[in-house]
């Protein structure tokens, strides 16, 4: 088992070191390093219809010594274009059963083996007046989070929820866990939850009705093929993973590390994803935030607006496209994208609003993503043409 240890660069003392070595090694080392803790449980799979009540029972991520720690062989990862979730920071991890590997796929998510557990923990940076009964949090840029590495310091971060996607022979299942006030563990809540946050950003304070999705709502996004209806991971696609991540010790990108580590097969040697133009960044953003529904097989194919990253930049991408069943979401505007006129583009109008009747995306966003509006609006502003 020691042979599969993950050689990450440490940032957090004994816990961090222990995180990056396999269980067998750790059992030997623990008594020297701390001598005070029982070993974490091994990662454990449960039947799809018998998920445990507590997150810790999976043994993937768990709170320990005022940190959120990862178990042995649980690998954190970052994406090039993350989904916006009310400025929550996200710790993403993947764990594969010993000896198994994901298979590379060029234009959809990697094909993960049965037994894979993907986790995503949503957290915020605590504000100075944070209390366990008053979720006052500070904005932190996603890029900043992407450069920080687990384990997560719980004196500085408050955990809201951890979502698991688990690959069974019959397909993926979603399990939302909500962290308790003591931040010691998270409880399975298939009906999700609603938490109120006070978010400080740019000198202003916003009230956030932070929604933990219910299990069906997990499928509201994680069913990119709406007719097939099967849950799928959305983030771990090759272009999304194709970047370096500070958790790894060198400049190689995540795909290369996953291949070296034996958890990814058949990956070609790709140059890193370059999001070096406004258009590339805007399209990556729209793919990550919209295309799980807005693709030719998605739930929003009813609108015939397709925003997936491979879609042609034509009327069905919104260019001079009139809306269909838009209701109040039209904002009294006629076209989804009016080239050169972001203020006359329905797409931007819907991104600027948080009213549930208007806001896009429909799930997972309760407040406006100012930077996303600026990116997409700027891209549209630079377009030529008339409608």
């Amino acid at each position: 088992m020691c042979a599969r240890q993950v050689a990450g660069r440490g940032a957090g003392g004994a816990i961090a070191i222990s995180m990056r070595i396999s269980l067998a090694c750790k059992l030997l080392l623990l008594s020297f390093l701390c001598g005070c803790e029982s070993a974490p449980p091994e990662v454990r799979l449960f039947p799809a219809d018998q998920p445990p009540a507590m997150l810790s029972e999976w043994g993937v991520v768990f709170a320990r010594d005022d940190h959120l720690a990862l178990n042995t062989d649980v690998i954190p990862y970052e994406l090039n274009a993350p989904l916006f979730s009310d400025y929550a920071l996200k710790l993403r991890t993947v764990w594969l059963p010993a000896g198994s590997a994901a298979i590379f796929a060029a234009d959809r998510e990697l094909e993960f083996p049965v037994g894979t557990i993907i986790s995503k923990t949503f957290h915020y940076r605590k504000a100075s007046d944070w209390r366990s009964d008053f979720n006052s949090v500070d904005y932190a840029a996603q890029e900043e989070a992407a450069n920080s590495v687990p384990p997560l310091d719980l004196s500085r971060h408050v955990l809201l929820e951890t979502r698991l996607l688990v690959r069974y022979a019959e397909g993926w299942q979603a399990f939302p866990y909500v962290w308790n006030a003591a931040q010691s563990d998270a409880t399975l809540e298939i009906a999700g939850d609603l938490k109120q946050l006070s978010l400080h950003k740019d000198g202003e304070t916003q009230l956030v009705n932070y929604v933990v999705p219910d299990v069906n709502q997990c499928g509201g996004c994680h069913t990119p093929d709406h007719s097939a209806g099967d849950l799928r991971p959305l983030g771990p696609k090759a272009w999304q993973l194709n970047r370096r991540f500070a958790w790894w010790p060198d400049e190689a990108n995540q795909l290369q590390h996953w291949s070296r580590h034996g958890i990814l097969q058949d990956a070609p040697d790709l140059p890193p994803t370059e999001l070096d133009s406004v258009q590339a960044r805007a399209r990556a953003y729209l793919d990550a935030n919209c295309a799980h529904c807005h693709n030719p097989a998605g739930a929003a194919d009813t609108s015939a607006l397709h925003l997936n990253i491979g879609a042609p930049l034509d009327r069905n991408f919104g260019l001079c496209k009139t809306p269909v069943a838009v209701g109040r979401g039209s904002g009294d505007l006629n076209y989804d994208i009016y080239p050169g006129r972001p203020d006359e583009s329905i797409m931007v109008f819907r991104m600027r609003h948080s009213d549930p009747a208007i806001a896009m995306p429909e799930l997972g966003r309760g407040i406006v993503h100012t930077e996303g509006v600026a990116l997409v609006g700027g891209w549209i502003a630079a377009m030529d043409g008339e409608c």
Binding site: L194, V211, A357
Partner: protein
């Protein structure tokens, strides 16, 4: 000092917070969510009598489930103050029945069913209880991309788009419903094989709409609208501009836009102040812009057959300055438009040497003394024609829609 600032912070927070539903309501909401999530095929989920406040979107993805209340005015899900979700209840499932339930005051759509087969919606009421308002949600009952649908004995009030809307579907029966004070009462869009009968549409902006929109996966055709009462649909259009229904003038009884093979017969159509029937093309909506239309989109209404309806009143006070001026110029202050308005757009590839639509594509009005006003919009209304003889023709009648098992 620290205590003071803490208290101030708490006070500020509570001022911004939305009203908290009480614990019992939240407990019921959670119970209902869990019932929907854990549902198994064959389950009947009952909703007890009472008004149940819900502040999140509900959804169902399991086929073979029945959701049943104790009556559309007794078991009510109230979404006033809903914090999240673009609809009240979102269903992606087949063999689904929903009945005897009220859904009120959703910020977005009331009931949306996105993809599914064998759907029954019976005695469901969607209502915005404050009446017509531009801030109401868009659609009341909104099945889209479904096959084999029975929508009956339901009620829709106050939707800022369409009260009862069937989109991109096939094999559809919409009967014995009531649609009041919506922008569109009943709308059939990009759907084929639909029978719409026995309904009452009154007090909407437009009573019953049969539309085709461009760029969608499926064009619509073959809709029969019969034995309905379409009365006094004169409410000012309160829909958001940019939506397809925003182009509908107040006072529209039945509107066919860009759809083909539509049969309108045996209806009572009265007192719709712009016109009892409007037949128009996508060009008349004003949305076309300068770009080319999708190549596979047919913007012309064709093979339209209107017969045996009972018209009374209507056309006396059209909406919009152009129509008002036209009406006064042609028919005088106290006169009225004829029962049928047609914008005059015809596909140049489907007309004869005189510019009349070929017989198989014709707009046939065989309805007693009812007349047609051809507004001649393609030529800037240079040659407006009023009469019936250009439209005196018949088409083969469409077959009745037969719902497939298990809805027979």
């Amino acid at each position: 000092m620290a205590l003071l600032s803490l208290t101030a912070a708490l006070a500020a927070c509570s001022e911004n917070a939305p009203p908290e539903p009480d614990a019992a309501a939240l407990a019921y909401q959670k119970q209902l969510q869990e019932q929907l999530i854990r549902a198994q095929p064959g389950d009947v989920i009952t909703i007890p009598a009472g008004v149940h406040p819900i502040n999140r979107g509900l959804s169902l993805t399991v086929s073979g489930v029945t959701l049943r209340g104790e009556g559309m005015d007794k078991s009510v899900l109230s979404f006033k103050g809903q914090l999240q979700g673009a609809e009240g209840l979102l269903v992606n499932a087949s063999d689904f029945t929903i009945e005897d339930l009220g859904i009120e005051d959703t910020p977005g759509d009331g009931l949306k069913i996105n993809e599914g087969r064998n759907i029954v919606i019976r005695r469901v009421r969607t209502e915005w209880t404050n009446g017509p308002d531009e801030d109401n949600g868009a659609y009341g009952i909104y099945p889209v991309q479904v096959e084999n649908l029975l929508l009956e004995e339901s009620v829709a009030i106050g939707a800022s788009d369409a009260g009862l809307y069937v989109g991109q579907s096939r094999n559809v029966v919409v009967r014995n419903n009531r649609a009041e004070r919506n922008v569109a009462g009943i709308e059939i869009e990009n759907t084929f094989d639909a029978d719409v009968y026995g309904n009452l549409a009154s007090g909407n902006t437009g009573g019953i709409l049969v539309f085709n929109m461009p760029d969608l996966p499926q064009p619509g055709h073959s809709t029969r609208v019969y034995k309905n009462r379409v009365i006094g649909n004169n409410t000012d259009n309160f829909g958001a501009a940019g939506t397809p229904v925003a182009s509908v003038p107040a006072g529209s009884g039945i509107v066919i836009n860009s759809n083909d093979r539509v049969e309108i017969f045996d209806n009572d159509i009265a007192d719709n102040d712009t016109a009892n029937i409007i037949i128009s093309s996508y060009f008349a909506t004003g949305y076309q812009g300068t770009r080319e239309m999708a190549a596979d989109y047919d913007p012309y209404p064709e093979t339209i057959y209107v017969y045996g309806n009972r018209f009374s009143g209507g056309g006396s006070s059209p909406d919009g300055l152009d129509l008002k001026a036209l009406k006064v110029a042609m028919f005088g202050l106290n006169g009225s438009f004829p029962d049928v308005l047609w914008d005059g757009y015809a596909n140049p590839d489907k007309v004869d040497a005189d510019g009349n639509l070929l017989a198989e594509h014709a707009i046939c009005i065989d309805n007693g003394d009812a007349e047609v006003l051809n507004a001649d919009l393609p030529n800037g209304s240079d040659n407006i024609v009023v009469g019936a003889k250009q439209h005196r023709c018949v088409h083969d009648k469409l077959p009745a829609v037969v719902l497939a098992a298990p809805l027979q």
